[in-house]
Amino acid sequence: MDNPITILEGCILYDRQSQEKLYRQFYPGLYALCKKFFEEEHDILSALNNGMLNVFQNIKQYDASKGELFSWAYSIVRNAALTYLRNKNNISETVELVADIEFDQQKSPFKTLEWKDIYFYLGKLPAATRAVCTLYYVEGFSIKEIASQLQLKEGTIKWHLNESRTRLKIIFNQIPIR
């Protein structure tokens, strides 16, 4: 494996070989991330490549003292995926705004699941609900952070979370965990 510092310096100088090495190195983790939000491979790759394009364009701003490069790239790709999702599905128009909805915070239904099961059950949810569910249960964001990222009200986020729990209960009952 090449030295990460060498790869980083090459990417700063827009060296294509270094960019390829970095891409291949991060690809499994970033693909898994994008697959949480999208079902189609085309959407997954589009979101992933958009995120990596931002990584390559802004890699000079990376500050090594504030974390690993992968963490930095992971955040950028996730944001790119959410942007892609927002542009594609227009989340804000499809959800019903419920400001005073009560959300029962329970344990994550995906806590003990394998990756394939997580992807399976997430695939049964609508796109916006899937995104909120992923951010809340899988990625561990708070409702406030999700609202900020998706530019939605917190009540809407809670509604999506309740919706996801309701749907997942039905799915869990119909299709037990494999």
């Binding site: 090459g10 100088l13 827009y14 060296d15 294509r16 960019q19 390829e20 891409y23 291949r24 190195q25 991060f26 690809y27 499994p28 983790g29 693909y31 898994a32 991330l33 697959k35 491979e41 997954i44 790759l45 992933l48 490549n49 990596m52 394009l53 931002n54 390559f56 364009q57 000079k60 701003q61 500050d63 504030k66 992968f70 963490s71 930095w72 992971y74 955040s75 950028i76 944001n79 790119a80 959410l82 942007t83 994550s108 995906f110 699941l113 394998e114 990756w115 394939k116 997580i118 992807y119 951010l135 249960y137 899988v138 990625e139 561990g140 964001f141 952070e145 900020s148 990222q149 530019q151």
Partner: protein
């Protein structure tokens, strides 16, 4: 397995599932996307790449041209100076007759034979310091007659003829050349104010025969002095034309060859004022003189080998006739040449100056020195061209073109005033400039960027910097109207116009953007250096008292104090230059 803290600390080595799409296919798409947005580049060298090398080449070329021109100019100056120095120090070499500022210098060869004879026979007239040293028996009380180097004082030594016997007259002048008799006496034609003094023979009664005609006077003082009366006579001939002077000298020779101890004084009219001189030289003194002359081996003297003591007076006179001296004295004279005659009259045996004259001469000398110093300052002042200049920054790479140092729109700062002065140096002109308000457009360059825990990236960018500027450049005129320059600028950065952007990393949108002005002493060290140096190339069009042109500057040093942030933007300025004082 998922982790609830995955978003804050995702592990690269986590057990991620195998992607459904192979990495090769994904990279192909990524590569296509990169080709459309980021062109592939090879890894450039760390020293900044080849993009900036043309600056170095152009700077080097122009500076080299300037130095070569300067070197040639200095060499020519040095060469001329060396010739003049040699001429003034070596007898028998080329001596300058006219020491007027190099270009007007006349050179006259002096044959070695004449010089040897001159030395061995204790030539009566010396004009060179080395020659004067050979006539050590002549006491030398020096009095300034003319200014040195045409302005300083020429010196006439007080002659004590008692020690010289047969050569009682000694004229010594530091900047006066000796014109041997074998050379035709020349009258300077380049100036109507030159005076030629030739040591010669004259009777006291003829001392008033010199005539002033205009300011062109020739003083012929054939060094013929007769011991009998122990007097020195000067025959001053007013001669406006060189030909007449030659004819008079030729006539003198004829008279001398007549083997009669007579003195001839001729005026420019060719009228002979021949008078028999009752002078008779004592035999002992004559023998002594003949012996000295014999040791000098007079040219064309057939008798000197046979019997030294039998040298005739005619031969002696003939030899002495060759010892004519041409002295060029440049105005302004501290006192008139007639004063010398008066002094000669008063001092019969000696050339003596009275106390009053000495005081006058000293005062005149001091006055001349003051005039020379003042003239030197005036000349320096005349050589300097100075004026004002206004610079218009060209918005090459800035979106905040009208934003001033206060953060508000200040269009007036686009007219940046500066002072400049130039002086001719070599083939071009050396120019210095001082800019009171230097505005450096940097473009939007990110100085620092950080992402906080809420995924808000705050980046600080510099747009402009402000400060003083000083420049040094060398101008070369490629045509009478166009000139090219190269040089360096030293610019300070006392203020900076900073833009702070807050961007949400998640949404990839700009949250806030603010423009701030920071004083570099407080905020700058973290971002900007207090000063930087730029290389400059300039093209100008000259018309009358005004120049208009454009200069391009490329920073040679980094504007940022952070080593990993490289800010060296190319900037351009259109300038308008006004020559208030022309040298």
């Amino acid at each position: 397995m998922h982790d609830e803290t995955l978003h804050t600390n995702p592990g690269l080595n986590s057990n991620f599932p195998i992607p459904d799409v192979p990495a090769d296919d994904a990279w192909d798409k990524m590569n296509t996307l990169l080709d459309g947005t980021i062109p592939p580049t090879s890894v450039p060298p760390k020293n900044g790449g080849g993009n900036g090398m043309w600056w170095v080449y152009i700077f080097g070329l122009i500076c080299l041209m300037g130095f070569v021109g300067w070197w040639f100019f200095a060499k020519e100056q040095h060469k001329n100076g060396s010739v003049a120095k040699n001429n003034s120090n070596q007898a028998g070499q080329v001596l300058p007759v006219n020491n007027d500022a190099g270009n007007q210098r006349k050179e006259m060869p002096v044959s070695g034979t004449d010089t040897a004879a001159f030395k061995n026979n204790t030539a009566p007239v010396t004009a060179d310091s080395n020659m004067a040293a050979t006539t050590s028996n002549a006491t030398s009380n020096k009095y300034p007659v003319n200014t040195k180097n045409n302005k300083g004082a020429h010196l006439i030594e007080k002659i004590t003829t008692k020690n010289i016997t047969a050569q009682p007259t000694l004229l010594r002048a530091g900047n006066v050349a000796v014109l041997p008799s074998t050379s035709k006496p020349k009258v300077s034609k380049d100036t109507a104010r030159n005076h030629v003094i030739t040591a010669g023979v004259s009777h006291p009664s003829q001392q008033n025969n010199y005539n002033k005609i205009g300011s062109n006077r020739t003083l012929v003082a054939n060094s013929k002095t007769y011991k009998r009366h122990n007097k020195t006579y000067f025959n001053i001939l007013n001669n406006r034309q060189g030909g007449k002077n030659e004819s008079s000298v030729a006539d003198d020779k004829k008279v001398f060859l007549s083997d009669k101890a007579t003195s001839v004084n001729k005026t420019t009219n060719g009228k002979d004022n021949r008078q028999k001189n009752a002078t008779t030289i004592a035999l002992k003194q004559r023998r002594l003189t003949d012996q000295r002359m014999a040791s000098g081996k007079l040219p064309n003297d057939k008798n000197d080998n046979n019997n030294n003591s039998s040298l005739s007076i005619a031969n002696r006179i003939k030899w002495k006739a060759r010892q004519k001296i041409k002295i060029t004295i440049h105005p302004p004279l501290p006192f008139d040449v007639s004063d010398s005659i008066a002094i000669a009259k008063a001092g019969k045996n000696n050339l003596q100056l009275t106390d009053n004259k000495v005081q006058d001469v000293v005062a005149a000398k001091q006055k001349n020195k003051k005039n020379a110093a003042k003239s030197s300052k005036d000349n320096l002042s005349k050589m300097i061209t100075a004026g004002l200049q206004w610079n218009f920054n060209v918005p090459v790479n800035s979106g905040y073109y009208f934003t001033g140092a206060t953060g508000k729109s200040q269009p007036w700062q686009l007219l940046l005033p500066s002072l400049w002065a130039s002086k001719k140096a070599g083939i071009g002109r050396l120019m210095v400039s001082f800019t009171l308000l230097q505005q450096n457009l940097t473009g939007k360059k990110v100085l620092s960027s950080s992402t906080d825990t809420s995924y808000i990236t705050i980046s600080t960018s510099v747009i402009k910097t402000f400060g003083l500027g000083a420049g040094l450049q060398y101008n070369i005129a490629i045509t009478p109207a166009f000139s090219v320059s190269a040089g360096f600028n030293y610019n300070t950065q006392s203020k900076a116009l900073l833009v702070e952007d807050s961007v949400s990393v998640i949404q990839s949108v700009m949250a806030t953007s603010s423009v701030n002005v920071a004083n570099t002493p407080s905020n700058g060290p973290a971002y900007l250096k207090p000063s930087f140096i730029t290389g400059k190339i300039e093209f100008a069009y000259t018309r009358a008292k005004f120049d208009v042109g454009i200069n391009v500057q490329k920073p040679l040093t980094n504007l940022s104090s952070a080593s990993n942030v490289n800010i060296k933007p190319v900037s351009a300025q259109v300038f308008f230059r006004w020559k208030i004082k022309r040298g």
